[in-house]
């Protein structure tokens, strides 16, 4: 039986959702029997591949780089899953949104810096005016709220998706869970 091609992506989040995924512990072996992890911050592949069956995305869309990535991921993925509150609601990354972008930059790169304060123009991707949930940019197929969703929730969702079923998530998790 050919294995399902799975990926995970890390946008503007704290990596907590990935940690919770790792908390599947020995259940990761059950998942590994059924999937090939073709791209993830947890594996050493640099380019997001073509023809991915299932992608879990952690984090809000906050920078031009995030936006570029999520559009590409969407194009190359059959089933896209928003994993965790940052992807689903923009959550903590979104707490900067009431403030103008310049105030954010000044706070981060000038006000709290004593040595040569400057706003980076290279290497660091420019921020979008607002940090927003993934589904405000691309179509999302499954939503798993939670900060982070528990390992049990992730395992349940993956097990269902791997069997070709839609998980019923509201009984298992909620915003802030």
């Amino acid at each position: 039986m050919s294995k399902l091609r799975m990926a995970t992506v890390w946008l503007d989040g704290c990596s907590g959702c990935h940690m919770s995924f790792l908390d599947l512990d020995e259940r990761l072996l059950l998942i590994a029997e059924k999937v090939d992890l073709v791209y993830s911050p947890l594996v050493d592949v640099k380019e997001f591949p073509l023809d991915v069956d299932l992608t879990l995305v952690e984090g809000a869309v906050s920078s031009e780089d995030d936006l570029h990535k999520i559009r590409m991921v969407r194009e190359r993925t059959k089933t896209l899953v928003s994993l965790g509150d940052c992807a689903v609601t923009s959550n903590v990354p979104g707490m900067r949104n009431p403030f103008p972008l310049q105030a954010i930059y000044d706070r981060a790169y000038k006000e709290n810096v004593t040595l040569d304060p400057q706003i980076p123009g290279e290497m660091v991707p420019p921020l979008l005016a607002k940090s927003r949930p993934v589904h405000e940019f691309v179509t999302v197929d499954v939503f798993i709220p939670g900060c982070p969703p528990s390992a049990d929730t992730i395992f349940y969702a993956l097990s269902e998706l791997l069997e070709g079923r839609m998980p019923e998530l509201s009984a298992k998790t909620r915003f802030g869970a």
Partner: protein
Amino acid sequence: MAKAANIKTLKIDGRDVSARQNETILEVARENGIFIPTLCTLKGLSNVGACRLCLVEVKGTARLQPACVTRVEEAMEVTTNSERLQGYRRAILELLFTERNHVCAVCVSNGHCELQSLAQKLEITHVHFAYRYPEAEVDASHERFIVDHNRCILCTRCVRVCEEIEGAHTWDVMGRGIDAKVITDLNEPWGSSQTCTGCGKCVHVCPTGALSEKGKSVAEMLKRRQFLPYLTQMREEDRS
């Protein structure tokens, strides 16, 4: 004792139920174990019909009726859970989430919030509308309490409990529409309020983390609401 003539009979979701004549649809539904979602109503306070979550269909009228302020009538036929109503309820809740900045993960009321638990109960896993991300104040000037307008849903429970139970009327609502907000005194810092007695009733009736006690961290703010029915019951004679 209710006299026989004061009993009304009606149908809720096809079930025959009986009610005292002054009861609201919501009260009768609850007595019969029929769930209608609510946010602004609270037993022991007057009803204002602010949140519209309790809208139900009544046969013979095209308009939806808020169950918390609609009195039962003889032979009424009420529907509480049609697909149309479910759609409206989800939309109302989703709009509440977009209107202010409810970041559940870092809220004092995480896990004990009526907005959050209702969203889960109505199977909301994400919000279909664009979030507004408004700039909203946090007033921590009071010695013991905090008001975080990011988390207020304008249910006006605080306003009602302060006026009706405590008799202080420190809280009120200022502005209209999207600019509406709850205020203390004449929009002055809570800490310098001349009328606030510091009783804390507003904090405990608030359904979200908008009102909290100082010193509480994420998920630590547990609200106690049991006091309210007792207080009103004890005062019933004065009030009638």
